[in-house]
């Protein structure tokens, strides 16, 4: 904050003599890479989205905005958007509070806390595809963990991933399991920056544990929490990797996210124009969210 003010108060700061040299040397490679690998592909996707194109030859069947119409008409797309919303809701309401609670418990510098930190963080290190395959087995009603539990309880086996109403719950469980460790680590790092003297002062003044948490720890964690919300929303919008091994988007497209919808309905069907339209829509959603969120909540961070 203070640096921002300083920059404003210092009138017409001039670039140092060697500043231009730095710009001339360092900007072109970065600009080139950005153009070739970010800007151009995005522009191409936007261009393809106006064509009916199967990926062979050049796109030559211009169909205007029809691809966008097809996307919105597709009930699986609406379902994918809802699923992304659910992921965000579960991230915000369950995953982040859980991560914060666990972080409070394991932030102490004692051996067992360090061990638990590692254990909780491990799922995050695991490759997404591997996690998907492992959980596919866990949920399996024939030979998996679900089968053993059902047999132990003397119940009929449950096939969670085969149920159109419950399969996505399975996906959500895996998401919380896999990513809460990452946010826990963020919060542990944040907690270590909380000023101890403030907490001690409050304790001497007679503040209880909850009051100390609510009025000292939480506000001091503010930047970290805002950052974690940003990560978790953008992360859920891009969710793809373990949906594929876990459910393949099924049954009946009930577990697709926007990105897996793009893959199954665009890429595997060789409808490049259609897939590009989905990509453009996803891009717009992400950009709008990022701008609005940064404007509203992360202005001071």
């Amino acid at each position: 904050m203070s640096t921002v003010e300083a920059a404003h108060s210092e009138p017409a700061r001039r670039m140092p003599a060697n500043g231009w040299a730095v710009v001339v040397i360092f900007l072109p490679p970065a600009l080139l890479l950005f153009t070739v690998f970010v800007a151009l592909p995005m522009a191409e996707a936007a261009w393809y989205s106006f064509y009916n194109w199967n990926g062979y030859g050049r796109p030559d069947r211009f169909i205007g905005l029809k691809n966008y119409g097809y996307v919105f008409e597709n009930p699986a797309f609406a379902r994918a958007l809802i699923n992304n919303g659910l992921v965000i809701a579960v991230s915000l309401l369950i995953q982040l509070p859980l991560a914060l609670a666990v972080a409070m418990a394991v932030a102490r510098r004692v051996t067992w806390a360090v061990w638990f930190r590692t254990i909780f963080f491990l799922p995050y290190v695991l490759a997404d595809v591997g996690a998907g395959l492992i959980w596919r087995y866990m949920f399996d009603g024939d030979y998996g963990l679900a089968a053993s539990i059902a047999a132990g309880l003397g119940q009929q086996p449950v096939y969670l991933l085969a149920s159109k109403d419950w399969a996505f719950t399975g996906v959500l469980i895996v998401i919380v399991w896999k990513y809460f460790g990452f946010y826990m680590m963020l919060y542990v790092a944040g907690l270590q920056g909380v000023d101890k003297s403030l907490l001690e002062a409050a304790e001497i003044d007679g503040a209880g544990p909850w009051q100390r948490f609510r009025h000292i720890t939480l506000p001091q964690l503010g930047p970290m929490i805002r950052l974690s919300i940003f990560f978790s929303v953008v992360g859920s919008l891009q969710l793809f990797d373990f949906v594929v091994p876990l459910t393949g988007g099924g049954p009946f497209g009930s577990t697709n996210t926007v990105v897996s919808f793009l893959y199954y309905f665009g890429i595997t069907r060789m409808r490049v124009g259609f897939g590009s339209a989905v990509g453009v829509l996803l891009f717009l959603i992400c950009v709008i969210f990022a701008i609005v969120y940064r404007r509203l909540f992360m202005r001071d961070d």
């Binding site: 009916n52 062979y56 030859g57 399996d140 009603g141 085969a162 159109k164 009946f252 069907r269």
Partner: protein, 417 residues
């Protein structure tokens, strides 16, 4: 002294460089996972390389989905394979339309005259050959003889759809899961829908739908196929959790003897044992084959078959050696070897006599006597319409979609294409 040294050096360089100039590389990209086929193909390539110094033929493997996703880009780059695996049908037509395939009609006419006409025609676009088939398959019901006996179902009595439904009911009553299907991957369920279309609409059904006759895919044939599939599914014949079962898992369920029938291609025989929980699977003697039943009032014959036709397509820049290799590859002796080792059912005429496996022999004789052979619908129609057929097959079977809505969805996909 110096000159001699230079001359020697130059000679060495030339000696090293000369074979490099003569070297022709022929790369062949495929997805075949059958070990027997891979072994045979590597052997054919080695034989060819030994007989043709300066030519290096190499088979390269990619996983199925990766192959399908990468191929369009590869074919349009400089890194394109010279020959590549194909299921014929819609994708092949799209590749031809984009000018990525070579016309090999004249080059391979001799070779093809010795092959099944159905298979050869599958690899033609507008009468022009763009590749060579090597294998043909038939989708049929594989049944567990012991479970049939246990429910006192006689496979020979199952001729019509009603006989089939009767058998399903009998199995169900005996506490046996009648059918196993890997509907998590969708295409296994499309076998039911596709066969019903062929049995109900006969050999012209698909051509008519493509030509938009009688409402295209909304025609009575496709609606009726959906109704029959739903009629079957209403008996609850599939294994529990079938909507999330993968193809490999389903083969294991059959191999474990946990379900009586599996509507599948010939590769099931190689997959049922390794995917079973016991690792042993069923003994071949305990497995029987049952053709898809006829549907009362349907135009299709009992001898019409549905199954894959696979071959190699020739990409536009393939060297002459690639075509020469295809001729070499299509020789009678290699086709017979494929037949004898059970790698696949070859399309070279007469090679089926080398098949030793009785089940494969049965499939080969069905194919030889086939009155009409339909390629898989999801290949024939291309990925865009084909995947919709897979989707609706599962949705109709699970009662999530009406047969009419399903037919309309296919038509819509065809119109958007």
């Amino acid at each position: 002294m110096n000159i001699r040294r230079y001359a020697l050096g130059a000679a060495c360089v030339l000696a090293l460089a000369a074979p490099a100039f003569a070297d022709t590389n022929v790369t062949i990209l495929h997805v075949n996972e059958v070990a027997a086929a891979k072994t045979l193909w590597d052997k054919i390539a080695a034989d060819y390389n030994a007989a043709h110094p300066g030519v290096k033929v190499q088979f390269k493997y990619l996983e199925n989905e990766a192959f399908k996703a990468k191929l369009p880009t590869m074919l349009q780059s400089d890194d394109r394979p010279d020959l590549f695996y194909s299921w014929a049908g819609g994708v092949m037509q799209a590749q031809d339309k984009a000018g990525l395939l070579k016309d090999v009609t004249a080059d391979l006419a001799d070779v093809e005259s010795n092959m099944s006409a159905t298979a050869v025609n599958a690899f033609k676009v507008d009468g022009k050959a763009v590749g060579v088939p090597f294998e043909m398959g038939e989708v049929a019901f594989y049944y567990n003889k012991k479970l049939f006996a246990q429910a006192s179902v006689n496979a020979n009595d199952i001729k019509s759809w009603d006989d089939f439904l009767g058998a399903v009911k009998k199995l169900k009553a005996a506490g046996i899961t009648p059918l196993v299907v890997g509907a998590g991957e969708k295409w296994p369920m499309h076998f039911y829908y596709a066969y019903l279309v062929v049995r109900i609409g006969g050999d012209g059904a698909l051509a008519d739908a493509k030509a938009n006759k009688d409402g295209g895919f909304k025609s009575a044939t496709f609606v009726e196929a959906g109704k029959r599939l739903h009629e079957l599914a209403a008996l609850d014949p599939f294994q529990p959790g079938y909507l999330s079962t993968s193809h490999a898992q389903s083969a294991g369920v059959f191999g474990d003897g946990k379900a009586a029938m599996d509507l599948m291609g010939p590769w099931l025989l190689g997959m049922q044992a390794p995917n079973s929980a016991s690792g042993k699977g069923l003994a071949e003697d305990d497995i029987g084959i049952l053709s898809f039943p006829t549907v009362p009032g349907g135009k299709g014959k009992a001898t019409d078959t549905m199954g894959g036709v696979n071959g190699f397509l020739v990409s536009k820049s393939a060297p002459a050696a690639a075509i020469d290799f295809l001729k070499f590859f299509s020789q009678d002796k290699y086709a017979k070897e494929a037949a004898a080792t059970g790698a696949y059912i070859p399309v070279v005429k007469g090679a089926e006599s080398a098949i030793t496996d009785p089940l494969q022999r049965r499939l080969a004789s069905d194919l030889a006597a086939s009155t009409y052979h339909q390629n898989y619908l999801d290949q024939d129609l291309g990925p865009s319409v084909g995947r919709v057929i897979n989707d609706i097959s599962v949705a109709v079977a699970a009662g999530q979609m009406s047969p009419e809505a399903a037919a309309a969805a296919i038509q819509e996909a065809a119109e958007q294409q």
